[in-house]
Amino acid sequence: MLSTLTLAGVLALAPAHEFALHSGRIHLGDGSVLEDATVHVASGKIVAVGTDLDLADGIPVIECEGELSPGLIGLRDSSGAGAEAQDNTRVVMAEAELRFAFNPDHSQVHRLVENGVTSVVFAPRSGSNLIGGIAAVVKPSGRILVPRALLHIDVSASGAAKGRYPTSTAGQYQELERLFSAPEGSIEELVQGRMGVLLEAETRHEVQLALDFAMRHHLRGYLVHAKRAGDLAAAVKASGLGVALGPFLPGEDPRHLASAVALAEAGVPLGFAVDGSRPLPSALRWSAAACVRAGMKRAAALRALTGGAAELAGIADRVGMIRPGLDADLCLWSGAPTDPSSRLLAVYIDGENVYQAPVKETVEEDEE
């Protein structure tokens, strides 16, 4: 209680453009931790981070009672877009740009911030599109980081159209190969490596075919919805693709969690998705915690929430870590970020304090 009061009090006084946060524990986003360290923020960017920073006089240092981490990154989200995130009029929507469906004023987007999510891959929903459109990387503050980031290709059952071509697995790949044989627009950017792929495949069989396809066309990016991809961990690793895990909910099939752990152990780049059938930003940390419970290393889970996800989304030079030069997207937690009982205390996006937890009485521990 005291810490939040202190924080809020200082913020009200300090000029927002330059300040420093001091915390007992800072998670840098690559799995490593600094104890008793300070982050120096100026003009929305991280200037420095370290245990022994030489700060100029007059820079306010905010004492944080809790643990700092980079803002979380969701690898697939459509918060606030609803039906706008999926256009059924044609099976292939290779030039539909999801940024036009992004509404930062929507309450679901506010929910992202309230759960510590500071960047998302704003992507098409699965529907009956073989190619759903071009995902953008956005911040819930409204800033569009990358307008044309990843192309969504759906080779799962949901991507097979009903009542029009292609209705079958063979037809899906026939159509994809036709499009890729004379690539143009976003598909050309994809095959030239200027854009990543967000490859939706659900069953292991679908993953198998999707990996073959991705390797055939030298695609980079990641799989979504592939809840049993861990059974094919070696093949996923060999493809160079990453996997967006989850969202996992309480009661998740243990095979899905075992799959996530197997992928982590195989060294597959990982992140977490916000959006399953609907946006669930609160599931992001639940998912990471479930993976830790199933055997994933805590540092790996946190990396997948932050720096690892940034790499998969192609924005590692902008966000995802607490490192000089990157955007000051930060979260302050009451405990370890991957511990679901930790509470989010504050969120900064581009150095701006966009969220402050309501002041609550500390929960008294039960006496023995």
């Binding site: 071509y165 209705t167 079958s168 697995t169």
Partner: protein, 400 residues
């Protein structure tokens, strides 16, 4: 029960600890060549049958069973053929293969293998006139189609007569709303699509501007390089298939090599079957003789075709109940009048011949692939069951 499960798990994971040499002792080995070997010791090594020695007693390490036959072959198992197995946007899709739709992670394959079926022909769902190319594959092994798929000397193209292809289609009154606003909506339309497909394929040889995807496969069928498997339950549909073949020959287009699947009413007109040289695959026997498309399957008359020289295979046709599995079908065929050897042939050597794989599978002989079915008693008897199965020398069901 635990051990086969573990073995299957190891196989699925491509584990390298799977035992690859086995010795089997059987009181009877029904080789499929007409020979029955007593008290035979079979050794299996590197996926092949290495030796068969009759008149031996069991060695200590041998798997001991009452009987051994070749692994069974089902040309119409319909494993997990969902709507994604066939491209329904167009009625004629000879250029597409069912291969991408084959989900080898599906536990149905394991169940099939454990029931003694070691090779199957997988076909697209019959929602099209011409659904596409089939795939022959083993029921067990790595979850990698390339490792399990047979390369057939004469591949098999799948299509359908009867009511199945027009299912879901409707005439377009006004603007078409989806791809199902189209022909055929009747048997007449189905027949027209068949003839048009072959006619167009032949036309395209004279006028290359008329070439279309799949024309090559159709021409290969006319040339006899590709076999044509047509689902036809009822007499009228069996006739239509055979008349199609005869029309193509009459017009000088070529000679279709037919396999009629689910030919429940083949018995009604044996003379046209014999005239056409078509092979047939029977659907499972039903208690009252009723099948699909209003076709009536007279057990004894159907199997009687074998004595008249028709090549006949039995199938489970995707039936789920244990009573419809292939080993039971062979037993029922014997009850309907087939001899043991004829019943064995209908689930082993005859389908192997149609696949063109007689050098590899279908019989128990030295040098053949070790696809073996191990029985608790005389095969196909109601009181016998499959207790062990080897697929390419790997024990997928353990009799111990």
């Amino acid at each position: 029960m635990m051990l086969p499960l573990l073995l299957c798990a190891a196989l699925a994971a491509g584990g390298d600890t799977v035992q690859d040499s086995w010795t089997i002792h059987a009181e009877r080995v029904y080789t499929g060549t007409g020979e029955v070997l007593k008290n035979a010791l079979i050794t299996v090594q590197d996926g092949e049958i290495q030796s068969i020695r009759p008149g031996r007693s069991a060695t200590e390490d041998a798997l001991q069973v009452k009987a051994v036959t070749a692994g069974m072959i089902d040309l119409s198992p319909r494993v997990k053929m969902d709507t994604r197995s066939v491209e329904q946007a167009r009625e004629v899709e000879p250029e597409l293969s069912v291969a991408p739709a084959l989900d080898l992670f599906d536990p149905a394959w394991e169940r099939l293998a454990e029931s003694g079926v070691t090779t199957v022909l997988a076909a697209p769902l019959d929602r099209n006139v011409i659904g596409g190319m089939t795939v022959a594959l083993r029921t067990a092994g790595p979850t990698d189609l390339a490792a399990r798929q047979w390369s057939l000397p004469r591949p098999i193209l799948r299509g359908s007569m009867g009511s199945a292809p027009s299912y879901g289609n409707h005439p377009a009154f006004g603007r078409p709303t989806d791809c199902f606003s189209r022909r055929p909506t009747t048997r007449m339309g189905v027949e027209w699509e068949w003839r048009k497909a072959f006619f167009d394929a032949v036309q395209a040889t004279e006028d290359p501007s008329k070439e279309f995807a799949g024309a090559e496969e159709l021409r290969r069928a006319l040339a006899g390089e590709v076999q044509l498997m047509i689902q036809a339950w009822a007499t009228q549909d069996i006739r239509t298939a055979i008349y199609l073949k005869e029309e193509m020959a009459r017009e000088g287009f070529g000679n279709l090599d037919l396999i009629l699947d689910a030919a429940a009413e083949a018995w009604r007109e044996p003379e046209i079957l014999l005239r056409s040289g078509a092979a047939i695959v029977l659907p499972p026997f039903s208690a009252d003789g009723r099948t699909e498309d209003n076709a009536f399957m007279a057990w004894h008359r159907d199997v009687d075709l074998v004595n008249q020289g028709v090549r006949l295979c039995l199938s489970s046709h995707g039936a789920v109940p244990a009573a419809a599995r292939l080993d039971r079908q062979a037993g029922l065929a014997m009850r309907a009048g087939l001899t043991f050897d004829q019943a064995l042939a209908a689930v082993t050597t005859t389908p192997a011949e149609l696949l063109g794989l007689t050098d590899e599978i279908g019989t128990v002989e030295v040098g053949k692939d070790a696809d073996l079915c191990l029985w608790s008693g005389r095969p196909f008897e109601a009181t016998s069951r499959v207790v062990g199965v080897l697929v390419r020398g790997e024990l997928v069901r353990d009799p111990r």
